[in-house]
């Protein structure tokens, strides 16, 4: 099914803790050089999965392959990880700290220093080298954390809730760097419940809820499968004439008045009909101002999927333009 070669393959991973199951038979394929969004409500098991990929904990059952090899301790140097709970040594100078963390990732000291100087220049923070972390602002600390994560040029970058706590300027900076890194060949996995960033950045997503994967695939495919043949039409004319013109397989979901003489209607048509048929039917009775297909946002897909999993009825009214 995957056309692109996958860098990371997760097969039937289960992780149990004493009083709950964190992951239940989760399988994923992360395509190489993609930006992969790991979505799910709080407590769904995203962080548990990320920690297993980072070999911080081990799965109870299931297997993980990186670059086709079974996950082993050598792989930690190929991964860059920015945890959700992140911090640095408060009393240690910035430069020394970054060097230490880079060396732990297997970089030679001289090489690490060279690269650090490049990044410090890029982010305009050359003067910070000898400062202690506690002297830096939160935004500055976040930059340092990001540099430390990517310094060893990992082929797989894992960011857990990268945008939580970042100010808009830093968030934009990080967003650009993520895309830049992908261009250079890295694969980026990030977990989030910020749906805006998903649509903007991700090629692929997986949705995890209550320790199970409930959905995955490319963003475009998922959105296509979640199309509901719903259209929003704005028109000039009489609402009564408009509704009379609709044939039986077109269902009026909602309607309203925008201004005097201008109305809107939400129409769902049967799956085997075409939008042009709908247009032909209504053209004679009104003057069309706009005609749009309502495509579900990732947010809607997220909510409707989670709700239907949790037994709450996913209502159509969740879909907005």
């Amino acid at each position: 099914m995957q056309i692109m070669e996958s860098i990371l393959e997760i097969r039937n991973v289960t992780k149990k803790y004493s009083n709950h199951i964190a992951l239940n038979e989760v399988s994923l394929n992360v395509p190489r050089q993609s930006v992969y969004g790991l979505l799910g409500p709080n407590g769904a098991g995203k962080t548990s999965l990320i920690r297993i990929i980072n070999q911080i904990t081990a799965p109870d059952t299931g297997e993980i392959f990186l670059n086709g090899e079974k996950l082993n301790p050598q792989h930690v140097d190929l991964i860059g990880y920015l945890p959700e709970e992140r911090g640095l040594y408060k009393k240690m100078p910035v430069g020394e700290q970054a060097l230490y963390l880079a060396q732990l990732k297997g970089l030679k000291k001289a090489e690490a220093k060279k690269r650090l100087l490049y990044w410090f220049e890029k982010f305009e923070m050359q003067t910070w080298w000898n400062k202690k972390i506690e002297e830096l602002s939160k935004g500055m600390q976040q930059k340092v954390q990001f540099i430390v994560t990517v310094l060893h040029e990992p082929s797989l970058l894992i960011l857990d809730e990268p945008f939580s706590g970042f100010d808009p300027i830093n968030a934009q900076l990080i967003r650009n760097e993520i895309l830049e890194l992908r261009k250079k060949g890295s694969t980026v996995i990030f977990s989030t419940h910020n749906m805006g960033s998903v649509e903007e950045l991700c090629d692929h997503i997986a949705l995890i809820n209550r320790s199970k994967k409930i959905l995955d695939g490319s963003v475009r495919d998922i959105r296509n499968t979640h199309r509901s043949n719903t259209f929003k039409i704005t028109f000039k004319g009489h609402m009564l004439g408009f509704t009379n013109a609709l044939w039986t397989s077109a269902e009026l979901l909602d309607k309203g008045k925008e201004e005097e003489d201008v109305h809107w209607a939400l129409i769902k048509i049967a799956p085997n009909t075409k939008s042009s048929q709908l247009l032909q039917a209504i053209l004679p009775v009104c003057e069309i101002v706009s005609f749009n297909e309502v495509i579900p946002s990732m947010n809607d897909i997220f909510i409707s999927n989670v709700n239907s999993e949790n037994g709450v009825l996913g209502t159509q009214s969740n879909f907005t333009e």
Binding site: I56, D60, G87, K91
Partner: protein, 446 residues
């Protein structure tokens, strides 16, 4: 080993950056040596010249108080009030006032008035002299010749010797040994707690700073914990060696200057003893210096010289490393499980109790060094580092040391393994009050 090496290095560098740590390393030996010097100095007679004016209302002590090279007694017939008025401007340093009721009465007190307080030795000397004069006076009053009493009295030294399986016997160190043993046990107690707490804080610092998850994505949690423990161990050993060297140098300097006379006397005394041993009663005892009052000092000095400091130092290092590794790995596990130092209380108690028990056993051993409490305390790993140090000066069979060290190191490996299991779960657990039950579950996580 590469990554553990980096962790060890960082741990050492970050502690060395701490100025208090450096200052303590150099200050502690100075304080220890200074403390010893003070004791020696205080115990020696102070040599400030004392010119004492004696107002003797009894007229009984005239010529009976003997001065020495730095104490002179001048007797005066003045009244006390008179003497006191002129005292401050006179060149007398003290006035010794002996009231009239001192000889006749059953009780009574003599008084010393001073400008600058006379040393303890001076006071003792005066008190002893007065008491002796009164003692002899009262004997005579009852028609008893003081020389008879004097000759009837004989000082006896009680020498204790231990016999081993082969029937060899040697003098054991008792008084001094028990104090020395207790002190080295107490030092071990302090060292283990000090460095154990350093590990505990370092673990908690990484957890509360939230850097730990970044680090464990590069190294195994167990490696991180081990690197930390080893780093602080290296630091501790270096600090111990530096402090040991400085203390040795300082005490050598102090003892050669302060104890010079005593050491010379001791050598003379040993020569005299040998002569008596060779010639028996034919030895010319008249020529000998009288050293009755110095015998106790000699005994302590001889005991100090007999102590095997090298064995004790090696054992100290061995037990410090073992005991430290054992306790610090437990403390690392505790540090990983809690969010704040205040939450750690419930876990600290069971760790501190055995250490405290060791300390109290060591204290108790000053009176009973060979009881079964001392034996078991020095074998069981929880207390052995402290109790064995206290036992060492009394002489411990090699097999016991070997057994105790082996047990200690085996339990260290066990404790570290267990601690590693708790540690890797604990460091990533936030905002949860952890219980013992919870901790035990972590051990079985995969």
């Amino acid at each position: 080993m590469g990554k553990i090496g980096l962790i060890i290095q960082r741990e050492i560098v970050s502690k060395l950056r701490n100025k208090t740590f450096i200052i303590m390393t150099f200050l502690a030996p100075v304080l220890i040596a200074g403390f010893f010097a003070m004791i020696i100095w205080l115990s020696m007679t102070d040599k400030a010249d004392q010119n004492i004016l004696v107002i003797d209302e009894t007229s009984f002590f005239q010529d009976k108080l003997a001065g020495n090279e730095y104490i002179t007694f001048t007797f005066s017939n003045k009244k006390l009030d008179e003497a006191l008025t002129g005292f401050y401007k006179s060149d007398n340093t003290c006035i010794l006032y002996i009231p009239s009721n001192l000889v006749s009465g059953a009780g009574g007190a003599s008084k010393i008035f001073y400008k600058k307080a006379p040393g303890f030795a001076v006071q003792t000397d005066i008190k002893n002299q007065i008491e002796k004069v009164l003692y002899e006076h009262k004997l005579k009053a009852n028609n008893i010749d003081p020389t008879i009493i004097h000759n009837a009295k004989q000082t006896v030294r009680l020498i204790t010797e231990k016999v081993n399986e082969e029937g060899e016997h040697a003098q054991q160190l008792t008084g001094f040994a028990s104090i020395f043993g207790f002190l080295s046990g107490a030092l071990m107690f302090i060292f283990i707690i000090m460095y154990g707490m350093m590990v505990f804080r370092s673990v908690m610092e990484e957890k509360t700073n939230r850097i730990v998850e970044i680090i464990v994505s590069s190294v195994k949690p167990f490696q991180l914990m081990l690197g930390k423990i080893l780093g602080i161990a290296v630091l501790g050993i270096c600090q111990f060696i530096v402090m040991g060297i400085i203390t040795t140098i300082l005490t050598t300097i102090l003892s050669t200057t302060l104890l010079k006379d005593v050491k010379q006397d001791l050598m003379k005394f040993q020569q005299q003893q040998q002569e008596v041993f060779k010639n028996g009663t034919n030895a010319d005892l008249e020529k000998f210096d009288k050293m009755q009052d110095k015998l106790e000092t000699f005994e302590i000095l001889q005991q100090v010289q007999n102590l095997d400091f090298i064995e004790i130092a090696i054992c100290f290092l061995l037990y410090f490393i073992g005991g430290y590794l054992f306790f610090s790995s437990i403390l690392a596990a505790i540090g990983s499980a809690v969010d704040a130092e205040s939450d750690a209380q419930q876990f600290m108690m069971p760790v501190m109790l055995p250490l405290m028990a060791g300390y109290f056993i060591a204290a108790k051993m000053m009176t009973n060094p060979e009881g079964s409490l001392a034996f078991w305390g020095s074998i069981i790993p929880f207390t052995s580092p402290i109790v064995m140090m206290a036992r060492l000066p009394f002489g411990v069979p090699f097999w016991q040391i070997a057994l105790s060290v082996t047990l200690l190191y085996v339990s260290f490996i066990g404790a570290t393994w267990l601690a590693g299991k708790i540690y890797r779960t604990g460091i990533l657990m936030y905002g949860k009050k952890v219980t013992w039950k919870e901790l035990s579950k972590w051990v079985f996580y995969k």
